[in-house]
């Protein structure tokens, strides 16, 4: 083990961690927005848009991120849409994540007990009020654990960004290995970096989940 080399690689890994986190949070944020939007469209059964939303959800969930990124990064410039690789990464991640978030939100909404909806109707709430005061707030709370799982999944998926030359953790490792041939050392750093990012994130998400669970179900 070349400790010296490991210590010297710290700045590279820190920077790459920053890149990974920045792009991941961007992607997760937009995924969530897309998921909510699809949720609204589906709930209000907006004609045409609903079919489009359903089609989009299936497309994004049934294809790998890598090919989505390649299409955006290498394919789209050929019809004049030229974007930076970081932007492509965030768009790709949001495209993928939006479908997953939409499914989670749908699941949460379907889980809202019928009695809540019936009670809302009984006191004369309109369809919009029903959505605003009952279905979306309660449905959202019920989908929190799946949304958290999706966030973690998307964070892990950022490792694919290295395929479009973004200097994320995986790519920095590959670069360092090809320069100094210290495979063991840099691989160790790669694994540790991901553990440093993912373990606290996982713990944080399960903490939120527990809080929400306590709020909704009281246990």
């Amino acid at each position: 083990m070349d400790i010296q080399a490991i210590v010297e690689s710290f700045p590279y890994y820190l920077q790459a961690m920053g890149t990974t986190l920045k792009l991941a949070f961007g992607g997760i944020f937009f995924s969530f927005l897309i998921g909510l939007l699809v949720g609204f469209i589906r709930y209000f059964r907006v004609p045409i848009l609903k079919q489009l939303a359903d089609g989009y959800t299936e497309l994004s969930r049934n294809t790998p991120l890598l090919i989505q990124l390649f299409f955006i990064y290498y394919g789209l410039p050929k019809i004049g849409i030229q974007l930076s690789k970081e932007l492509c990464g965030v768009i790709g991640l949001s495209f993928l994540g939006g479908g997953y978030m939409a499914e989670s939100i749908r699941g949460g909404i379907e889980d809202v007990p019928l009695i809540q909806i019936e009670s809302g109707k009984a006191i004369g709430l309109s369809r919009v009020q029903l959505a605003r005061y009952i279905i979306f707030p309660q449905g959202f709370l019920r989908s929190v654990s799946n949304i958290g799982a999706n966030a973690l999944f998307l964070l892990k998926e950022t490792s694919v960004f290295s395929a479009i030359a973004i200097m994320d953790l995986t790519n920095v490792t590959r670069d360092l290995i090809s320069m100094y041939y210290l495979t063991k050392e840099y691989m160790l750093m790669l694994v540790i970096s991901y553990v440093i990012i993912l373990v606290p994130m996982g713990l944080f998400i399960s903490y939120i989940e527990r809080r929400v669970r306590y709020g909704v179900f009281g246990d």
């Binding site: 497309l59 049934n62 790998p64 890598l66 090919i67 394919g75 490792s159 995986t170 991901y194 996982g202």
Partner: protein, 224 residues
């Protein structure tokens, strides 16, 4: 536009792409075959009362859940030949990592589905004088496996989608084949990436969508 899409049936391109897809599906299939068997076995072991076994398998599961698969692929791809002097072909490295990953995920699917069998059923089995093996054979598996099927199908689609990462460690699967074609047409047909990557995108969809539908169908059947 005509020029662009015609790339797909130029020469033997379509056949080559499909062969690339077949390579990916072969790796997924072999890994799933071994992974599901091994994972089922692990899943059963994890329902045993020994806490030592539970902790060991929990650690194994968490490692394969936390670390992104691409990182695991790289670790095996770089470390095996250099530090253990094991020089395997890329496909074999992929299959090895996939089997370990699938078994970890599968063990969790099996464990949770076996644990979902109601206590009442288990107690009744015991009252009838079933031994442990009989309990698994006649009570746990017939009742638990139904709830495992949707998750298993989802695992299959995840594995198929994940084969896309294999090009990163030099396996000539469908995306790598597409890349080679794009390089070949770089000068003559500039829109090649759009059509070829678009086509591969649809190929994955055509393979994974029916599986996803099947999983949803099963879920509804169990639920309703």
């Amino acid at each position: 536009m005509y020029l662009g899409i015609s790339i797909l049936w130029d020469g033997n391109n379509l056949g080559r792409l499909l062969l690339g897809l077949w390579e990916a599906i072969k790796i997924a299939g072999v890994s799933l075959g071994f992974g599901i068997i091994l994972g089922t076995f692990f899943g059963v072991i994890r329902t045993f009362p020994s806490s030592l076994i539970r902790i060991i398998f929990r650690i194994y599961l968490e490692i394969f859940r936390i670390i992104p698969l691409l990182v695991l692929l790289y670790v095996f791809y770089y470390i095996l030949p250099e530090n253990f002097n094991i020089d395997l072909p890329n496909q074999l490295v992929s299959v090895l990592v996939f089997i370990l990953w699938i078994s970890a995920e599968m063990s969790e699917i099996i464990r949770s589905s076996l644990m979902s069998v109601s206590k009442h059923q288990i107690e009744s089995g015991k009252a009838l004088g079933f031994n442990r093996l009989q309990l698994y054979q006649y009570v746990y598996f017939p009742q638990g496996i139904k709830s495992a099927i949707p998750s298993m199908i989802n695992l299959v689609t995840r594995v198929i989608k994940t084969t896309s990462l294999l090009m990163m460690i030099g396996v000539t699967e469908v995306i790598r084949v597409g890349q080679q074609m794009i390089e070949h047409y770089a000068v003559t047909i500039s829109t090649a990436p759009l059509w070829i990557y678009g086509f591969i995108f649809m190929l994955y969809f055509i393979v994974c969508f029916p599986l996803n539908m099947a999983a949803k169908f099963w879920e509804r059947r169990i639920g309703g």
